[in-house]
Amino acid sequence: MRLPDRVTGLFLVGLGAAAAFGGWRLPPVPGQPVGPNVFPLVIGIGLLLCGLAIAFGIGHSFEEEEEIVPYEGGEAPAPRGKLYGLRALLPPALLLLYVFVADRLGFILTAALIVYVTATALGARWKLALPLTVLAPIAIHLIFSKLLRVPLPIGLLPMPW
């Protein structure tokens, strides 16, 4: 997911401009020298300038040293299709799924789904993934619902405790 600096820089320019504009439109507080509009304006302009600097490669020379980080354990991953990179979006997608279905399905079933999908995506065989899918949600439910009294949604499959 390494994007060229030009792309991230220009994104920041856009975001900064939007923030500055949004801040500028906020109503000032009468009789007060600075209102809620000043801070976003300053931040927006700052972001805009930073974005411009990044897009033009200023400060890039400082980054060279980072390449020496000794993080090369294991072999390089085999080259895969273009969609392989999208796997990274799986965890946030699963969390959003939790938000939308947890109330209906209940904690145990939703959690089991999350565990099973994450485990298989990381290459677990079914012999490992299935017991984990059963045990992990129950263990977490015990800790959070029973011990810490977090009101987890009950849904379709209530726990006997």
Partner: protein
């Protein structure tokens, strides 16, 4: 003084504190030793648990888990050449080279021993530095707080291991996030886009969990599984450590001091301390040619340094609410929730709680030696846990933990969103720690700025003519000009700059 000490003892010698501390230590050791799970993440996932503990027990879990995790990151570094936490990355190569030479015991022993020494040195700095600074800070007004907060934000960009421009951009992003919500000088909804959940603003803790935990699971999806650790028997772990202490006492002290300084600087934490100390050790060593071939000297210095920074990171956190590192950023959130609002008065009004924190740090670092040795001996079993079983559990903890913080599903959305933001930032060289600092300190900067301006009737003169304010102002402005000056200098003299190694 003695009375407060006795009170502090009473505070920490309850079963709740003792059990919480032991459990958190084991948890910290395990999480720290698993590659890819950092000390910050361990602390962030602990937060929902701390809700249900007494204030001192809550702090005890954070202190114990973070100190243990920083040490325990050395274990896979030495055995697999994969640092367990970023704080061990600086010397993982060196430690692994020692293991290959058959000196695994010495490398791991140095890890546990000098970590404990560093942690205690850091605690001493906390005990010595904080009370007198609190005296000074009592006279601070919003003008000083504004400059202090600004200085803190600038520090984070100065010490980041990447482009300072990107660090500043990350900081601005964090500040922008802190703008969201209704908690601003005018009390108007700002950047909420009509979403009711955004009115309350973005909670820092779910944002931190997202940035440090979810982003890590996302990265795991694309990186290959680390190789399993070979099973092996260890000899005596602590043998030879005393000789090392005597031989390298100067290096150890220097590591402690560097660690303390970097810990106190806002935003820079254990990983930075280890990098700086390792580089320093190599630079000033009598035998620099041995570095990289399995030489223990750098390990001593960097190991002492990263644990020292963990404790000293609490100095600005307790005094001003400015986090010394990302772990302290989480600790501040917990302190607020427990009614121990950071500030100089904490040291006078809640002195016994402060002493209890010192004691907790010392106990945690002493406990690190026996527990660390047990962990080293069990490491080959713990590290066998495949990633595909650990990561799903982390996912569940993220979901449930962020929900528990406000009993609100919006927390889970925040975690997911910040997971993506953290992942994209990290992949493109934007330091995440700078953004975290921005999120945590944004409200403070804005409030200090606006209140000051209201007090001074819109004049900016008082920002500069109060004595302490003027000093802090010149430091903050200097911190901003410094990278610009370095950049200009490099631009004008490209040849010489390429040859010289610029310290930073």
């Amino acid at each position: 003084m003695l009375n407060t000490l006795i009170q502090a003892f009473n505070l920490i010698t309850t079963w709740e504190v003792i059990i919480a501390m032991l459990a958190a230590s084991v948890y910290g050791l395990v999480i720290g030793s698993l590659p890819g799970l950092s000390a910050t993440m361990a602390t962030a996932l602990l937060v929902p648990v701390t809700f249900y503990l007494s204030p001192i027990a809550a702090i005890a879990t954070i202190v114990a888990a973070s100190s243990m995790a920083i040490f325990s990151g050395d274990i896979p570094g030495a055995l697999l050449r994969i640092p367990g936490t970023p704080a061990s990355a600086a010397y993982a190569d060196e430690a692994y080279a020692m293991t290959r030479k058959g000196e695994a015991e010495l490398a791991l022993g140095a890890g546990v021993w000098f970590s404990a020494v560093g942690g205690i040195a850091g605690t001493l700095s906390l005990m010595i530095l904080a009370p007198p600074l609190a005296e000074i800070a009592l006279s601070f007004s919003t003008f000083e707080y504004f400059w202090l907060a600004l200085l803190g934000l600038m520090c984070a960009t100065l010490v980041a291991r990447s482009s300072p421009v990107k660090a500043i951009a990350g900081m601005f992003l964090g500040l922008l996030v802190s703008c969201i919500g209704i908690e601003n000088p005018g009390g108007v909804p700002r950047f909420t886009f009509g979403v009711t959940d955004l009115l309350g603003g973005i909670e820092p803790i779910p944002a931190l969990v997202g940035v440090f935990a979810v982003a890590q699971v996302m990265r795991a999806m694309l990186t290959p599984e680390p190789p399993p650790i070979p099973r092996r028997k260890f000899g005596s772990i602590l043998a030879g450590q005393w000789t090392l202490t005597k031989k390298y006492q100067w290096q150890m002290t220097r590591g402690n001091i560097i660690g303390i300084i970097i810990g106190v600087l806002p935003g820079a934490g254990a990983d930075m301390a280890a990098w700086v100390s390792y580089a320093m050790s190599k630079r000033f060593s009598k035998e620099p040619e041995k570095f990289g071939t399995g030489h223990v000297e750098g390990l001593v210095e960097a190991g002492a340094s990263n644990n020292a920074s963990v404790a000293s990171g609490w100095v600005p956190s307790l005094l001003f609410g400015i986090p010394g590192d990302t772990i302290a950023a989480i600790a501040i959130g917990v302190l607020y929730m427990k009614g121990l609002n950071p500030g100089p008065t904490l040291f006078t009004e809640k002195a016994s709680s402060m002493y209890a924190i010192y004691l907790l740090f010392i106990i945690a670092n002493i406990m690190m030696i026996p527990l660390g040795i047990v962990m080293i001996r069990l490491a080959s079993y713990v590290l066998r846990a495949p990633r595909s079983t650990v990561m799903p559990v982390i996912m569940l903890c993220c979901a449930v933990g962020s929900f528990a913080i406000g009993n609100n599903l919006f927390g889970v959305v925040t975690v997911a969103a910040f997971g993506v933001i953290g992942y994209v930032m990290e992949a493109n060289g934007y330091p995440v720690a700078a953004m975290v600092l921005g999120i945590v300190m944004g409200t403070m900067v804005e409030q200090a700025f606006v209140t000051s301006l209201i007090k001074s009737d819109g004049s900016i003169l008082p920002f500069f003519d109060r004595p302490i304010s003027a000093i802090l102002a010149s430091m903050a402005i200097g911190a901003f000009i410094w990278p610009v000056a370095v950049w200009l200098w490099r631009r004008l003299k490209p040849r010489t700059a390429a040859a010289a190694t610029t310290p930073r």
